[in-house]
Amino acid sequence: MTDTDTAPRSTATDLQDERLRQSDGVAGSVRALLDRVRGGELGLLPVVAGLVVISTVLQILNPIFLSSTNLVNLLLECVPVGVIALGVVCVLLVGEIDLSVGSISGLASAAVAILFVDQGLPVVVAILAAVALGSLIGWVYAQMFNRFGVPSFVITLAGLLAFVGLQLKVLGPIGSVNLPFDSGLVRFAQLAFLPGWLAYALVVVAAVALFLSGYAHARTRRKAGLSDRSVQALAARSVLLLVGLGFAVWYLNRTRGVGWMFVFFIALILVLHYALSRTRWGKSVYAVGGNVEAARRAGINVRMVYTSVFMLCTSLAAVGGVLAAARLAAANQSTGGGDVNLNAIAAAVIGGTSLFGGRGTAFAALLGILVIQAISSGLTLLNLDSSYRFMVTGAVLLLAVTLDSVARRSRKSSGRA
């Protein structure tokens, strides 16, 4: 078989079953999507819909909400808790939970401030030390979990208390350390924006890369006799991305532009997305979340999976803490306290990660935290105090968990559980 771009070919190996409904073209894709939703495979749909509704309502209530200035700020505000939520997604995927991410982030911000400002270590060393501390905590959690079988919510609940205590201890009686404004870390979080040309260049690179990888994939599939996406569909997808991101960048560039810290967040998401969907480790994470016993019998080192996931979660929590300190230009007793913990977990769940394990993607963290930050920013613009923010976020979280449970039930009844 030579290049068969145009040549007609027999039905692809994976499309030969006559019961298979064709999902060609736009109508077919829409029908396939509706089928999936009815079957309880909600994916990212509810959160995207929610985001649109919330933005519309808030924009109507206060036209500043969707202004460029506010969005630039909102995206930066998302990052620290968003990074923490990324780790929470991983633990939820294996069907466990980490309730201590907030206090770990607080401890890490205290550690970085003390090491950098008080001890005078280079900032990079201070950051690495704080993140290493986070990983160490995750390793200890994993040992407790693997060796003694203590439920993760108890281990991490204990951790939550212990690390709040440790954070207070480390910060000492003054309880607050300021980071110098001219340090690279603070500038990174507050003042570093992509030059316009670079932002557009990245958008183009992303669109082209998406097209090329899709095209190469479609070609190998075709060579192997499997169905493939048409070049038109691939091009349409890339153009859509190009236009969407291009517009976003243009809009943000009307004021300060795209922050480096946000780009860092996106990069983390993409790396994690790749690891979860395209590596053996990622498959074993989903397998452990779906059926631990089956994973074990398939020869997967289940303990290693738990260890890696707990360590990843606590390390990302530490990174989030460092970024929070940078954003605030200070570490104090309340860093990582208050609603950070719950927001991080809520973001993962609102983004569509199932509390029952085995379902969710790295993008859940981004979408979930966008919802939470949108609510928070919108209510602040309306001059409503945090009491409303808590109540609204609580309601949204309840809604998300209910959706998750209902979806799970309809998956059961349509045999997809």
Binding site: T13, D14, D17, R19, L20, G39, H217, T220, R221, A224, G225, L226, R278, T279, R280, W281, K283, S284, Y286, A287, G289, G290, N291, E293, A294, A295, R296, R297, A298, G299, I300, N301, G358, R359, R411, S414, G415, R416, A417
Partner: protein, 260 residues
């Protein structure tokens, strides 16, 4: 017959107060199909789990290709070349067919080769005449028999030396059962050793060379299929020649005679 590839001697396994297996022996040669039969709770699945590294035996020795071995984990079993289809199938319902087939042995660990895996999946499923419309749906949406086919297909990956099938045809339709029996015969021709657990005497007599009977966790006879009747096997399974199965057969014989 040639030296056994796999041989178990004096295997015992207790679950608390329950002695699930007591001093069980078992031999399998290359190109031999051994059927393990026994009543519910006789210890068949426990034996399977010991072979596949899910449980470890309390006492006894396992010899594989003339070497004494420990099967301490499922990975160790697979490394030796023992593949298992479990009675409960052990599939991940949230993953699709391809992911389940290649679970734990995906191609290219750091950049999964999904195309090659999909092609291989279709080959395996075709080989079993599987009636699975698409390999990209979660296993949860497959029927019981389709799932069983997926589990069997999975055991064929990586060319194992011994294949252990715990009630492989329990949920299968007529055609798929025949395919599985054909497959077992093909495996034998290719020199694999097969351990098959089944309650179906017809299947056992159709493909097995040797029948090993377990009763209440103990060996209760080893027969060559050629020179044993189903009645004898059933007698060994139940522990008596005058058993509920023969009584039923007797009653039916009598009524049929009475009617004619």
């Amino acid at each position: 017959m040639a030296d056994p590839v796999l041989s178990l001697r004096g295997i015992s396994k207790n679950f608390g107060a329950v002695a699930a297996l007591t001093e069980v022996d078992l031999d399998v040669s290359a190109g031999e199909v051994v059927a393990v039969v026994g009543d519910n709770g006789a210890g068949k699945s426990t034996l399977v789990k010991i072979l596949s590294g899910v449980h470890t035996a309390d006492t006894g020795t396992i010899t594989f290709e003339s070497q004494p071995v420990q099967i301490g984990s499922p990975a160790a079993a697979r490394h030796l070349g023992i593949a298992t289809v479990f009675q409960d199938l052990a599939l991940c319902e949230n993953l699709n067919v391809i992911d389940n087939l290649f679970l734990g042995q995906e191609l290219r660990a750091l950049r999964l080769d999904d195309v090659a895996m999909e092609v291989r999946s279709w080959e395996l499923l075709r080989q079993l005449s599987a009636k699975i419309p698409t390999v990209r749906i979660p296993v949860a949406s497959l029927s019981g028999g389709q799932r069983q086919t997926v589990a069997i297909a999975r055991s064929l990956l990586g060319d194992p030396k011994i294949i252990v099938l715990d009630e492989p045809t329990a949920a299968l339709g007529v055609a798929q059962t025949a395919e599985v029996l054909n497959l077992i015969e093909r495996l034998r021709e290719n020199g694999h050793g097969v351990i098959m657990i089944s309650h179906n005497m017809a299947d056992v007599r159709a493909v097995a060379d040797t029948v090993v009977v377990l009763r209440l966790g103990r060996n209760n006879g080893v027969f060559a299929t050629g020179d044993v009747s189903s009645e004898d096997i059933i007698a060994a399974i139940t522990g008596a020649h005058d058993n509920v199965v023969t009584q039923r057969a007797g009653r039916r014989g009598a009524t049929e005679k009475g009617q004619s």
